[in-house]
C-alpha cells in the first residue's frame, strides 16, 4: 500500500518546489486564498465556540471575533467563486482531472450549506427571520423532516461539526487531486505538463 501511495504521489509531487510557468498568473492565487480564508474561518469559529453566544453578542472582543468570522467567510466565498470562474474558463476538468473538479464543486455546495447554517445559528432576530423564511423552501422539497432549520441545536451541530468536517476533508482531497494530476495547463498549451 505504501509503495502504491508513494508511486502515485512521490514527495516531490506532494510538496513541489516549482510549478509550470503558466501558473505565474494572478488567476491561480484564488485557490490558496480560499484555503487561507478557511483557516481563519475555522480558527475564529473555534474561539466563538469556546466563549459562546452571550460573549459574541455582548462584549467588544466577542463582536470583533464574530466580525472576523463573518468577514473571513466573505473572503472565502469571494475567492472561491473567482477560483471557480477561473477554473471553469480553463475547462479545468481536462486531462483526467474530473475528480478534482467534482471534489471542488461538492466543497462549494458543502460551504454554501455551512454558510446557511451559520446564518441560522447566530441566535438573534436575523437568524430567526432567515430560519422562518427558509423553512418553507426546505419543507417544499420534503427535506424538512430531516433538516429542520427551526431546530437551533441541529443547525448549530451541522454548522460546527458536520459541515466544517466535510469542507476540510473535501478541501484536502481536492488539493491531493491537484497534486496527483498537476495544475491544469492553459487550453492552448499542447503538452500535458504535470506539476
Amino acid at each position: 500500500m505504501r509503495r502504491s501511495v508513494v508511486s502515485k504521489l512521490p514527495p516531490d509531487k506532494l510538496l513541489p518546489d516549482t510549478q509550470p510557468a503558466y501558473v505565474a498568473s494572478w488567476i491561480y492565487v484564488f485557490g490558496v486564498t480560499t484555503m487561507a480564508a478557511l483557516a481563519v474561518v475555522i480558527a475564529t469559529g473555534c474561539i466563538l465556540a469556546l466563549a459562546g453566544p452571550q460573549w459574541w453578542h455582548s462584549s467588544s472582543l466577542g463582536h470583533f471575533v464574530n466580525s472576523m468570522h463573518l468577514w473571513s467567510v466573505e473572503i472565502f466565498f469571494f475567492a472561491m467563486v473567482i477560483h471557480l470562474w477561473g477554473k471553469f474558463s480553463m475547462a479545468a476538468w481536462r486531462g483526467g482531472r474530473s475528480l478534482t473538479w467534482v471534489t471542488g464543486a461538492v466543497t462549494f455546495l458543502a460551504s454554501i450549506l455551512a454558510g446557511f447554517t451559520g446564518y441560522v445559528s447566530q441566535t438573534n432576530f436575523d437568524s430567526q427571520w432567515i430560519a422562518t423564511q427558509a423553512k418553507d423552501g426546505i419543507n417544499s422539497t420534503g427535506g424538512g423532516a430531516f433538516f429542520n432549520v427551526l431546530n437551533l441545536g441541529q443547525m448549530l451541530m451541522w454548522h460546527i461539526v458536520l459541515l466544517p468536517l466535510a469542507a476540510v476533508v473535501l478541501t484536502g482531497l481536492h488539493v491531493l487531486m491537484v497534486r496527483v494530476k498537476g495544475v491544469v495547463p492553459p487550453i492552448e498549451e499542447k503538452a500535458e505538463v504535470s506539476a
Binding site: T18, Q19, P20, A21, Y22, A24, S25, W26, I27, V29, F30, S60, E74, F78, V81, I82, W85, G86, P185, E189, A191, V193
Partner: protein, 60 residues
Amino acid sequence: MAQSWGFGALVNLDHYGHYLQWHFLSISVSNLIVIILMVATFVVALFAPFPGRRNRKGPQ
C-alpha cells in the same frame, strides 16, 4: 444602535438595506457591489502582470 466611539465601520451600516428593483428582479445594493467587485477582480486577475513572470521560461 451604532456606537460613535472606537473602531466603527467605515460605512454607516446602521440602517435598512437599499434595494434595486427591475421588474421581478430585486437585489440589495451591497450584494450588487460585491458582485461587481468579484467580476472586476476576476478581470484584473486575468490581465494584470504577475511579479517574476518574465524570469520564467516555459513549462518546467
